[in-house]
Structures are given as C-alpha cells and as structure tokens.
Symmetry: C2
Subunit: 336 residues, 2 copies
Amino acid sequence: MTTMLTSLHRSRDAVEPALRKAVARLDPTTRAHASYHFGWTDADGRATSGNSGKAVRPALALLSAEAAGDPEAGIPGAVAVELVHNFSLLHDDLMDGDVERRHRRTVWTVWGASAAILAGDALLALAQEVLLDCPSPHAPAAGRLLAGATRELIRGQVEDLAFEKRNDVTVEQCLNMAAAKTGSLLSASAAIGAVLAGAEADVVDALTMYGAHIGLAFQLVDDLLGIWGDPEVTGKPVFSDLRSRKKSLPVTYALSQGGPAARELAAWLSNPDAVSEEDLRRAAQLVEDAGGRQWAATEAERRMRLGECALTAVSLPEGPRAELIALGRFIVNREL
Amino acid sequence: MTTMLTSLHRSRDAVEPALRKAVARLDPTTRAHASYHFGWTDADGRATSGNSGKAVRPALALLSAEAAGDPEAGIPGAVAVELVHNFSLLHDDLMDGDVERRHRRTVWTVWGASAAILAGDALLALAQEVLLDCPSPHAPAAGRLLAGATRELIRGQVEDLAFEKRNDVTVEQCLNMAAAKTGSLLSASAAIGAVLAGAEADVVDALTMYGAHIGLAFQLVDDLLGIWGDPEVTGKPVFSDLRSRKKSLPVTYALSQGGPAARELAAWLSNPDAVSEEDLRRAAQLVEDAGGRQWAATEAERRMRLGECALTAVSLPEGPRAELIALGRFIVNREL
C-alpha cells in the first residue's frame, strides 16, 4: 500500500508539470476554474498544497508506456486521460447536482453552471490538443483511442441518468453501462501509453482488456462500498447508496433473483419514506439475502483475475507488468 | 444570391451523408437529441424535411480543399467543423437561456440541461474522431487546428458572458472576443480543407486569415442587424440588441467616443426601465450620432477587403478563389 502510494506520487510528479503547462494554455478565467478543480488553488486563486486526487489514470498511462519500453512516450497520454477524466467530473457534478468533491465545493457551486460547462469543454478540447501536439508518430492513433473512449464515457452517463428513472434495468444493461461510464476511460488509460510508444497490437489489446476488466471490478467494489463501506473510510454516510435508492449493481442483481427477499427489496425501493437506520439496515440485509453482495464480490474478483490473465498472456517486461497488476489491485480494492 | 444558395445546397448534399454517418455512431439517446438539433427529426424522432441551417462552415471547408486541388479531402474537415459549431450552439443555448433556434425549441428546453450538455460533449468528441479516422496523412494537423480553434471558441464564450457584467469593456477587447467567439471557427473552416489536402503553408495562412477577417466582418454586420435589422428578415424584434442592453460592437464603439451622445447612451443603458419604442429609437439614434453605425459598417467592409486581399496574394485556382470570395460576401452581407 505504502509502495503503491509512493509509486502514484512518483507518477504524479512526472505528469503534473505537463498537466499544468497544458492548463496554462487556457484563457485566464477557465484556467482559474480548472486550477481550482484540480486542487492547485483555492476559490480566490491562491496556490494550495491541496489534494488533486489519486490520479490513477495517468499512473496507468505511464506504466502502459513503460510496459511497451518507452516510459517518456506516456506523458502526453497521461495528461490527456486526466484531462478527459476531469472534463467528465466537471460536467457530471453539475448534472448530478453534487455540491462537494474531495471535501471542496464543486466548480458549479462556486462559479455557476456556465463556468463548469465551459471548463469541462475546455479540458476535453485540450486533451486532444495535447495528444496531437506530441511528436510521436502514433499520436493520431492515441487520439482516436481517446475520442472513442470519450464517446463511451458519454454513453455511460446518458444511460446512468436514464436508468435512474426506470425500474426494469437488467443486470446485463447495468454492467454494460458501467463498462462505458467507468471502464472505457480506465481501459484507454491502460492502453494509451503503449499506443504512443508504438507497441504491437497484441500488447495494446491485452492492456485494453486489462483496463476494461479492472474498470468493472472497481465499479462493483465501489457499489459494495456504497452500501457496506465504512463511513470513516469512504467519507460518505453509512448505507449511502440505499439512502438515495440507487439501483447499483448489487441491488440490480438482487432484484433480478426473484424470491421473497427480492420482492421485499423491490417494495422497499418504491417506498421513499422508509429511511430510518433500521429500514436501511433491513434493505442492506435484503440485498445480501438475495445474493447481491456475494455476487458483486465474486464478480469483482473474477474480473480482476481476467484482467491479470490478459496481462500474463502477452510478452511484457516483468517490472511494469507487476506494477500494473499492483496498481489494478490498489484501484479496485482501495478501502475494502 | 440564388447561385450562392445553389452552391450551399450542393455542399450540404456532399457533406450531410458523412455528417449523418458520424452522428449514427452515438448512443441512441444522444443520437436522437443531436438529430433533432440538426433539424433531421422532430422531438418525437420522426424524420422531417427541416431547416438544418445554412451550413456555411462545411461549405468553406469544401472550397478550402478545392482551392488546394483536392475537393474530396475536405469532407471530414467539413463534418468536423460543423460538429464543433453545433457543440457550441447546444451549450451556448443552455448558458444563454435561449429557448428557440431556427424557430424550433432548443434541446435543453425539450429534454433538459443534461441532455444538451451531453449532446454537445458528444459532438465535440466526435469531431476529433471523424478527423482522426480519415486516411489523410494531414489529419493530425487538421485535428490540432480544430482543437486550437475550439479553445478560442470557448475563450470567446467565457469573455462574452463576463463582458455582460462589466461596463468598462474597450472596443479592442470586444473585437478580440468576437475574433475568438465568431472568427476562430470560421477561420479554421476556411483552412481545414487545405490542411487535409496537404497545401503549402502560404495557402493555409491565406485561408486562415481570410476566414478570420470574414468572421469579424460577419460579427460587425450581425451587430448592425441586431439594432437596425428588418424584423421581417432577421426574425427578431426591432432594436432587439438594444432591448437586451447588449453592449455589441457598434454600442461599445459609440460609448468609447465621449461627447454628449455617448454620455446620454451610457445613461440610457444603465436605466432598465426605458424600453418603450420611442426610448429604443432614441437609443439607436444615439449609437448612430456617436458614430457607432458608420464605424461598424466601414470596419466590416475593411475586414472583407483585407480577407479578399489575403486570398489574392497567394497562388490559387481562379474558380475556388472566386467561390470563396462569393461565399464570404454571402456570409457577411446576408440580410443587409
């Protein structure tokens, strides 16, 4: 764990100067909003030694390039995936009405909706600009990979918003949405460094699969934490996702199983008044009784193994392969 | 005029199949919202023979490729600039609170803010995907051009929103904002076809300058129409920009001139109650008396000539050069 944090810090130290240089190209207003969002400044523009997040996507991108034998080639890719990730955070926070991120007010709550829309737009455009400015002959392929992942990311958010209003979402549809919303950019992050380094197709494919599998495993674990996570660790109230009646993966699975627990859970979900601690504890028990908890944990484990198999099946240098696997486990298992 | 409309229709016929094919890559929900926005379907998804706008940017992109000797090369560029233009319309309509566009309800009023944000995001990402998918070895250069223009477009909207709250904007700042908001994408449109066709730098530079000049000329004329345009032709109420107290280019120029007319105009602008037909007529007269109308008309004419000079100073085939100049005049002079 400590080693992993050291490795994440090392990767952040390698990427952050390039990320700041890219953001410095934006107009002063947008630059100020983006710098606040990244945790570099406070709302008055004063430099902070803040928490910019774990930056796991840039770390994946750097290891991906290292796995392909050219660590330096990964930097523009690392910057680009972090820009796309933060574009989506800026817009999603607004659409989801989230007022806090990493214990700070979100951009739209500080400067309004237009500021968040424009800052997100600017980061998305900048991601492609950074990639296409880099001297690698493989930059266009990396740009295509990133644009496709962005299209999937948007599909995921579109479906997530639509699913909130539906009661008939299947487990398969829910997994497919998570693959788009969470998996696509992690997958692109795990592959983009290798693409920029000119790796063979089999290596790029293996890294793509690895990222997609850990993306889904991450989402399954995130959904488990949304119900059973320790509030001290997650920073969210206990039973958080049940309070908001979120039809997350374990809940959707439980509902799909039929039987008395599933039926009682469905009835509870449609009753917005049952929000006492006891109601929530009962609902969590129903998800567990209908098999949702066990399924999600097993499925997360299975995806992790599939990802690791994909990495083992191609020829990669041992160091980067081991670091990729360790990073994947760190991403997935975080607070569990 | 009729010839120009024929030429615009010809260009739309050449580009629209590729544009529709690109939009078909989006998820069904986003595709439906985008298809409505483009005027291809109604709000229920039924095909319409609607008005998709004049599509002057794709027409510029095609002529730009033709000027460089390879008309076919311009198509992905034409699709990409039209996608970026419509990304900005979707987001700007939401930020500006505009409820109608081309006599139809805007996407955010039909499906909500999130739909407009996501559809805009999707078109922006798709623009780069279309460019980078095309086989031209110059696609990355075109992608860079487009990403830079998008950054400028966003700066323009950021400044436009900020200027609404200020009373001290200079003519120079206002021109600089218009160059970003209106000029940057018209400039990229006029150059992108030539870039994709592999034209020499002097040709690309001339086309870039041409597009930037007609962009500013267009904005100056648009601002004149916002005050003195015929409501029958513009589709907006008479004195439209004065009603909304918009500090457009002629108004900003008039205010900068000092003297009694400028002082009376400044006083009128700060009085939100003076909105009678007579008040508005008086305000328009003050803009004219302080020289704003004459300046804007002269400046638009000057920009047009500068653009045409730029085109004349490089070696271009006569046909495309003449068509570019005719299209520029059509864009600028529209309803005047």
